[in-house]
């Protein structure tokens, strides 16, 4: 807000400040992206080149970091954890859809009485912190032999994402005009036909965005996975915690690992970019 004088001599000054603000936006974008760009570059450096001061920007590129990460160097293989994360994220997302779609239908297209109260009940569970139920869940898992079991995480991730999904789906299904549904009913269409032919085409992009956001949250989750899994059901973020106290030269490997494990989230996030705010604000912002 330094250009107070800009208002006085408008025509030329505004064009200049416009250009300046555009440049500033670019600078901010590059600055925020810099750590990620540097992480990507480092992941393709050899360990020796990765750990230099001043940094070696133009060092030779190699895939050693990735080879090291995928376990060809003799370390623990990340594949089981990647498979676990994929199973937990995909299954819980599917489960969320199965539970959230009918619920959202009963809250928007054919609403139950007091549907806003129900909607806000779902929201309130999202505000209950994870630590609130962590210990009883841990004790329950320990006593029933569910510790280190990926299906326990599937159930917990489903509960974590269900409120978000119900809210998002509600806001997407509300966009389906009631008049179209009534017209279809008058034409004699039955419920399955209405759902597949009328509701689905309009709500599908929203359903896709909801799934991507649920996938991201499940993939990222650490606290439950850290406490409730061990050797067998370890997820990708838990695998990453192995790098917290690593000694010696391992920067390229850490960067490769972080990048590979973040790749599904980056892809899903960019795919859902336009609906991301709506999901994160639980449908409050469109």
């Amino acid at each position: 807000m330094s250009e107070n004088t800009a208002a006085v001599v408008r025509p030329r000054r505004t064009r200049q400040t416009g250009l300046g603000l555009g440049l500033l936006a670019w600078l901010a974008g590059i600055l925020f992206f810099l750590p990620i760009a540097w992480m990507a570059l480092t992941s393709f450096h050899s360990e020796e080149d990765a750990a230099t001061n001043p940094p070696s920007f133009g060092a030779a590129l190699t895939l050693d970091g990735y080879r090291e990460f995928f376990g060809t160097g003799g370390g623990a293989s990340p594949w089981p954890s990647l498979v676990n994360s994929t199973v937990a994220s995909l299954t819980s997302t599917l489960l969320v859809l199965l539970l959230a779609l009918p619920a959202a239908y009963a809250l928007s297209i054919r609403p139950v009485r007091k549907w806003t109260d129900v909607l806000f009940f779902f929201l309130s569970t999202k505000m209950l912190p994870v630590v609130a139920g962590l210990l009883p869940i841990y004790l329950f898992a320990k006593n029933t032999g569910l510790l280190d079991n990926i299906w326990l995480l599937v159930v917990l991730y489903t509960s974590m994402n269900l409120p978000i999904a119900v809210w998002m789906m509600h806001s997407f299904l509300s966009e389906v005009p009631v008049a179209i549904i009534e017209a279809a009913q008058i034409d004699g269409a039955r419920l399955p036909t209405i759902l597949t032919r009328v509701v689905a085409p309009i709500a599908l992009p929203g359903i896709a965005a909801t799934s991507l956001i649920c996938f991201i949250f499940s993939w990222n989750e650490l606290l439950f996975a850290r406490v409730l899994t061990g050797v067998v059901a370890e997820t990708a973020p838990v695998f990453l915690t192995g790098f917290i106290t690593s000694q010696g030269l391992f920067l390229a490997k850490v960067c490769a690992a972080s990048l590979v494990i973040s790749l599904p989230v980056l892809t899903a996030g960019f795919a859902a970019q336009d609906k991301l705010v709506q999901g994160l604000s639980l449908g409050a912002v469109k």
Binding site: A25, V131, G133, L162, R226, L240, I244, L251, V254, A284
Partner: protein, 313 residues
């Protein structure tokens, strides 16, 4: 039943009062799709919390299960009087407030920059969102090892060029180090919410103000900011709800050491490492009380936005 039908003005005005039994059946048919989700949520989120509440009134160390006994509020007094635990309450407040405020201010600046038309706006938006889409543990590792490392981290590497000092970031300013990493991740979140707010402004009103000779600052101060208030509140509250629970960054960057342990980390540590079930539960209940305070405000903001949305359509 007939008295309550007036409460549902949206209901189709068909001849439904004639057959009460089928009416009730239809009401259940309407409710049925909702029940699986509702029951699932109650079972998985509400029951464990009730259990936490019960355990919090017991003196219970998992290593000595036989010595378990009811102690009333003793765990709460211990949590609130123990120096370490009280410190973690303070750390939680400090961490949450600092991260939310800083990312809100930065996010507002970025949203204002992105609200203007310029070459490559879409690409800049994508670059700015990226930090939010790095797995939290990976982001924390990136800051801890790749940026903060005193010997070969990028920050000291860049300082080297200008002949600056070579500080040990995490040891010197541990809490600030955690906060900076979180601000980097959460600024894009705030930016997205505020950008949505900016783009929902009444353009005609702004044009009218311009015609009347208002300058950019006056438009921002008297039109944009009041309109953004809701979105600022929403960003602050949602951010608080997520950051008050933060575990990943504290766990990864400092492992709760150097005075950076927040309540979620303390809860994790006191039952997972110290096996103090009763104490951990009491601390957990305190986190919930804190969240409820924030959440009450959050729910109010969300419901006001929600009503606005409903009245528009």
């Amino acid at each position: 039943m007939t008295a309550t039908t007036t409460a549902a003005p949206t209901a189709a005005p068909t001849a439904r009062a004639e057959k009460p039994p089928s009416d009730r059946l239809r009401a259940w048919a309407t409710r049925a799709p909702l029940l699986p989700a509702l029951i699932f949520m109650i079972a998985v989120t509400q029951l464990p919390f009730v259990a936490t509440l019960v355990i919090s009134f017991f003196d219970w160390n998992a290593l000595y299960p036989d010595a378990r006994r009811f102690t009333g509020l003793a765990n709460y007094t211990e949590v609130l009087t123990d120096a370490d635990l009280r410190h973690s309450v303070w750390t939680t407040i400090l961490l949450t407030a600092a991260v939310v405020l800083a990312s809100l201010v930065l996010g507002l600046g970025l949203a204002l920059l992105l609200d203007r038309r310029f070459r490559g706006r879409g690409l800049v938006r994508t670059l700015l969102i990226a930090p939010f889409l790095v797995v939290p543990v990976a982001a924390a590792l990136l800051w801890k090892h790749v940026l903060y490392n005193p010997e070969y981290g990028l920050l000291n590497g860049l300082l080297h060029y200008v002949g600056g000092p070579q500080p040990d970031w995490i040891s010197n300013t541990p809490l600030l180090a955690v906060e900076a990493a979180l601000v980097w991740q959460w600024t894009p979140f705030m930016m997205l919410i505020l950008l949505a707010g900016l783009q929902s402004r009444d353009q005609q009103q702004i044009e009218a103000a311009k015609v009347d000779g208002a300058n950019d600052w006056q438009i921002f101060r008297h039109l944009t900011l009041p309109h953004l208030r809701r979105y600022l509140e929403l960003g602050a509250l949602l951010g608080s709800i997520y950051i008050v629970q933060n575990f990943d960054a504290v766990f990864t960057i400092t492992s709760g050491g150097l005075g950076t342990a927040n309540l979620p980390y303390t809860v994790y540590q006191s039952f997972y490492q110290a096996h103090e079930n009763g104490l951990a539960s009491a601390a957990g209940v305190l986190v919930v009380i804190g969240s409820i305070v924030i959440a009450t405000f959050a729910l109010r903001v969300v419901s006001s936005l929600f009503r606005e949305e409903a009245s528009r359509s």
